[in-house]
Symmetry: C2
């Protein structure tokens, strides 16, 4: 597997030494959660991922993918295509109950 470059893009909040803050910051960036969500079942090529993410700009997607790779959640397969690492799969399952919650949420709120 190819390694993400380690030019250490600083994660806001990591300075506090509280990893939860760094994680919340990373996941709180645009498209981060969505990318993990779309990769939850199978690896996707960069273009397929873009299609799954409502044609979001490739600029941000590349940026998020690089960050997620540096964080160890996503990896680029040898034959191309982005997939979750073991760690990434754990993370994904951590907030998988969000799906059921979202359904309940809609029924209560009219957003």
């Amino acid at each position: 597997m190819k390694q993400a470059s380690s030019k250490t893009r600083s994660v806001r909040g990591s300075r506090t030494g509280r990893p939860i803050m760094a994680l919340l910051d990373l996941l709180g960036r645009r498209w981060s959660l969505r990318i993990l969500w779309e990769l939850r079942e199978e690896p996707l090529t960069s273009r397929a991922l873009r299609a799954a993410c409502d044609e979001a700009s490739p600029t941000v997607l590349q940026a998020r993918l690089t960050e997620l790779r540096e964080a160890g959640f996503v990896e680029l397969g040898d034959g191309g295509g982005y997939g979750l690492t073991v760690l990434g799969r754990e993370l994904c399952e951590t907030f998988m109950p969000l799906h059921r919650f979202a359904e309940r949420w809609r029924s209560k709120s009219g957003v």
Copy 2:
């Protein structure tokens, strides 16, 4: 409890009719996850919340708080102070395992 204005700030992704997308988008905005996290134990005044969020600009915090109120996750108490609604507390517990995950994550990744 005071109600958040309902001028329907559109949530990106809600057009697809898939509530999980709307939720991922809302939570994927800056400081959203952090705000929920900081309110997890007790209500905080707007200024205390700001302090807890590394002195983030009050402009975004107000925006996020309004969105979270409209979504039904956060409410403004009568005597002042922001707190989680019942729904918000459920949501918060949904990704509470993230805390433990973050600790394991740091030990594996050098971010």
